[in-house]
Symmetry: C2
DNA sequence: TGCCTTCTTTAGAACGGCTCTAATCTGTTG
DNA sequence: CAACAGATTAGAGCCGTTCTAAAGAAGGCA
C-alpha cells in the first residue's frame, strides 16, 4: 500500500534530492507535501512542526526550505516586502493574492495567457514569468 | 518656459497632493520626478539626497515615499523579499526584473496581454495585476 | 558493533530594511 | 510677528531572516 503518488514518501523525496533524511527534514517534508498544494511561510511551518511535537529550530526550517527550493521541490513566491511564501506547487502557475488576509490562491498556468511579451534585453534570458493578481474586498 | 509637462513643478505637485512643500519634500520630489521614469529604493533616494547636499533623514524619505504612494504619484513594486522599489511610472505597466543587478525595466501595459484571467473569489475585486518577468544572464 | 567523518541542527547573536517615539523645528495663517 | 499644526529628526525598536560556532546525528566501514 502507498507508493503510487509522486513523492508519496518523504524519505524517498529527500534521498532523491540528495538530502539526508533527518528527523527534522522528514517531519517538515511531510507537513509540506502530504496535503495537496500549500503556500506557507517559514514561521507557519515552524509553528506546525512545534504543534506536531516535532522539535525543530527556525534556522533548520529556513535551511530546509531553501534546500527544497534548490532541489526544485518548492518555489519561493514574493508578493509582500519582508516575508517569503514557499509554494509546494512547482508547476507553471500564477497567483491571486488576498491583500487583507495574506493568502495566496493558485491560478493554473493554462488559465492565463501572457502573450506579446517583448524580448528581454540582449544577453539575458527569461527565467520566470510571475503574474500576481492582487485582490481585496469588493468595492474599495 | 516650463510648466507644460505634467507635474513639471515639484512645488505644485506637492501642493496638489496636499503636502506642505518643505525643503526635504521638494528636494525628494525633484530627485524622483525631474528625470523620466525611475525605480528607486528608499536607501538609494536617501543617498542621492545626501550626495546633493540636502540633509534629510531616512525616516523622512520613508514618510515622503509613502505619502506620494498615497497620493497616487508613486507606486510600490515588490519583486524581492526584504526591499521595496518605488516607481515613478504610475501608468498601467509591467516589469522585467534583472535578478543579478536588482534593476527594474518598464514594459508598457499595452505590450503585454494578460487574458483569460479567472474571476476572483466571490466578494473580492481585482486591485492590480502585476506581471514580473525575471531575467538573468543568457544560458543558465 | 564501534569508530570516524561528514553533514545537520541549534541557540543565540547579528543583520537589514523599515517603523516608531517624542523632542525639536518649520511652514502657514492671521 | 505670534501661535499653532504639521514635519523632521536621532535613535531606539521591531521583525523576518541569516550567521556563527558548538554540539549532535547519520552513514560508511572495519
Ligand atoms: Mn530566501
Ligand atoms: Mn511600504
Ligand atoms: Zn502557488
Ligand atoms: Zn515601472
Amino acid at each position: 500500500m502507498s507508493g503510487s503518488r509522486p513523492f508519496a514518501n518523504a524519505l524517498e523525496l529527500l534521498r532523491d534530492a540528495g538530502l539526508r533524511p533527518t528527523r527534522q527534514r522528514l517531519a517538515l517534508a511531510r507537513l509540506l507535501f502530504d496535503r495537496g498544494d500549500r503556500h506557507v511561510t517559514a514561521e507557519q511551518l515552524h509553528g506546525e512542526a512545534i504543534a506536531a511535537a516535532v522539535p525543530v529550530s527556525l534556522a533548520t526550517v529556513y535551511n530546509t526550505l531553501h534546500q527544497l527550493v534548490g532541489a526544485g521541490l518548492l518555489r519561493e513566491v514574493v508578493v509582500n516586502p519582508g516575508r517569503s511564501y514557499f509554494d509546494t506547487n512547482v508547476s507553471d502557475h500564477h497567483h491571486f493574492f488576498l491583500e487583507e488576509s495574506g493568502r495566496l490562491l493558485d491560478i493554473p498556468g493554462d488559465r492565463i495567457d501572457v502573450s506579446n511579451v517583448p524580448a528581454p534585453p540582449a544577453g539575458t534570458a527569461i527565467r520566470r514569468v510571475d503574474v500576481v493578481i492582487r485582490i481585496g474586498r469588493e468595492a474599495d
